[in-house]
């Protein structure tokens, strides 16, 4: 693997127009990138350029503009293919976001392949995006639903797998690659091997991983993988699902309507080829182009450089928080997590912490982070979460810590 030079977060910030606007009269310290990232000018320009020079509906038009629009969409598809190292761009389906991608698999694969006696296995760490669709489809099909438990550091207990397999025919194993709450990096490769031993499909939710590290579907050994553009410098409203061609071909469509057909007659409709079979209606064209530009932007910086930088930031933040005896932080050691830190301030509700920090121009998230089963496991109603990205600088973590002192003084 080539190693990129260390990234210069201070220089990269100049690419992000949002940082030109103060928050509460102070420079914005945006520590909520795990929820959604900020947008670089390069991506915004690519979308504007597409609308201004290449915009028409894709695929069917024979005029030049339609061809240019189609080329924009398909070039973006190829960029997503390269990003996740998929064997073929036919296997890359544009969706609204990772949640929709997972719903696609849950409905289009699950409804046909799950039934009583089968077991769907997700994790206790899971974002609701990769939890609720599976729970819902398991209930609808009569399949069982089981959770891989966590240990006290917030890492998956693989020693529980055999016990789970004893309770039913495991047909689906679904996990996040990186936890959005704790930053835990999950052993997807090992889970994929186990899933295939059981005769199950392996579904990876990479929404939280793809912005920060190289995600390689062939190395992970998964069967489906879902990502969202908005968490990785791309626009909202577009994401991608990768799936193995033979599985996608065996599946019914998820959404049906325009564009996804081969022929439509009064008594029968046949489906188009991959990926079109799963892309009903007009595609999010400009969004896909923006997604492609975001991938170019991240590639230029280098995913290994981004990962190293986040790693440094997480270690720095955890060290700073460890010095405060009235702060509890959750999750694995910095060496095994992405740039996400969840914590609580003794005696101060996360909402109040986040509110005080907001007055200081520091944006963090407070709540259950769409992980209510995990919050229950941790024995808390909510946590504070600070998350970092390529434009985060250590001074922002210092401002976070200073704000925690203010909150502590005011409430506790």
């Amino acid at each position: 693997m080539t190693t990129s030079p260390a990234l210069d977060a201070r220089a990269l910030r100049a690419d992000f127009p949002i940082f030109e606007r103060p928050s509460h009269g102070k420079p914005l310290a945006f520590l909520d990138s795990a929820a959604s990232s900020q947008k670089p000018r390069q991506m915004l320009d690519a979308m504007r350029d597409f609308y201004e020079t290449s915009y028409a509906n894709v695929h069917r038009g024979v005029y030049e503009l339609a061809e240019r629009a189609t080329e924009g969409l398909e070039t973006a598809r190829e960029k997503v293919r390269a990003l996740v190292n998929a064997p073929s761009a036919r296997e890359v389906i544009f969706v609204r976001n990772a949640t929709e991608g997972i719903n696609l698999v849950a409905y289009a694969w699950g409804l046909r392949n799950l039934g009583p006696g089968d077991l769907v296995v997700v994790t206790e760490l899971e974002h609701h995006s990769n939890f609720v669709p599976w729970q819902f489809i398991a209930n609808r099909t009569g399949a069982g639903f089981a959770l891989i438990p966590l240990d006290h550091q917030g890492e998956l207990r693989l020693d529980a797998l055999d016990g789970i397999a004893a309770t039913g025919r495991v047909k689906v194993v679904a996990t996040g690659v990186v936890s959005n709450s704790l930053g835990t990096v999950n052993p997807v490769e090992r889970l994929a091997v186990w899933a295939h031993e059981q005769g199950a499909i392996m579904v990876a939710d990479a929404a939280q991983a793809a912005p920060h590290r190289k995600v390689d579907v062939q190395a992970l050994g998964c069967d489906f993988l879902a990502i969202s553009a908005h968490k990785m410098c791309g626009p909202s409203g577009v994401g991608a699902l990768w799936g193995r061609a033979e599985l996608l071909e065996s599946m019914d469509p998820f959404l049906v309507g325009g564009h996804m057909i081969r022929s439509v007659k009064a008594d029968e409709t046949t489906w188009g080829e991959l990926p079109h079979k799963f892309e009903a209606g007009t595609a999010p064209m400009a969004e896909a182009v923006g997604f492609g530009a975001a991938i170019d932007y991240l590639d230029e910086i280098g995913f290994d450089a981004i990962e190293r930088w986040e790693h440094e930031l997480a270690a720095y933040a955890l060290d700073q928080l460890a010095e405060l005896p009235w702060v509890s932080s959750y999750g694995p050691p910095a060496s095994r997590r992405a740039g996400i830190v969840s914590f609580n301030v003794e005696g101060v509700h996360p909402h109040d912490v986040a509110q005080v920090l907001d007055f200081e121009g520091v944006a963090i998230r407070a709540g259950h982070h769409c992980c209510q089963p995990l919050m229950k496991k941790l024995g808390v109603a909510a946590t504070n979460r600070a998350s970092f990205y390529l434009y985060t600088v250590p001074e922002e973590i210092d401002r976070l810590v200073a704000g925690l002192h203010v909150a502590r003084k005011a409430f506790a």
């Binding site: 509700h349 109040d352 007055f359 709540g367 919050m375 109603a381 005011a410 409430f411």
Partner: protein
């Protein structure tokens, strides 16, 4: 006055740190509990009636942000001695006026959780009307 002082007025911090009417009543004539699923605020409210449907005692417990807990504490003082019917029809602005701070839509939910739970408790005990804004979202309130 700083933004912090505008939101977390001294009286809010005082009610948060020393809540009035804290603790559930036993025996009690009415009870309800509720959660704000967005932020995990929790409130349980108990009521004891005097003559007719006059609220004699209120006791609450909960955990959550300063706004939710302080607002419920202020509410508990506000409703004592009033009839269940009167409180059931109490406009939320009366409580918000008492709280007297600018609230964003998210924090408004924190501030009004206790009032919603109290109205549910009165509804269960006395059949008083549920407020309109709880008509569709009453599912957010766990009934017990």
């Amino acid at each position: 006055m700083s933004e912090f002082e505008q939101l977390y007025r001294e009286v809010i911090l005082d009610h948060y740190k020393s809540p009035r009417n804290h603790g559930l009543l036993d025996p009690r004539d009415a009870y309800a509990e509720g959660q704000n699923p967005l932020c995990g605020d929790e409130i349980s409210v108990t009521v004891r009636f005097g003559e007719g449907d006059v609220i004699e005692e209120v006791g609450f417990e909960g955990r959550g942000c300063a706004i939710s807990q302080a607002a419920t504490s202020m509410l508990s003082d506000l409703v004592k001695g009033r009839s269940a019917q009167d409180v059931a029809l109490m406009p939320k602005d009366e409580l918000l006026g008492e709280i007297g701070i600018p609230l964003t839509p998210v924090r408004l939910k924190c501030a009004l959780l206790g009032l919603g739970v109290l109205k549910v408790a009165l509804h269960k005990a006395k059949g008083t009307p549920l407020p309109e804004e709880w008509g569709t979202s009453a599912a957010d309130i766990t009934l017990n």
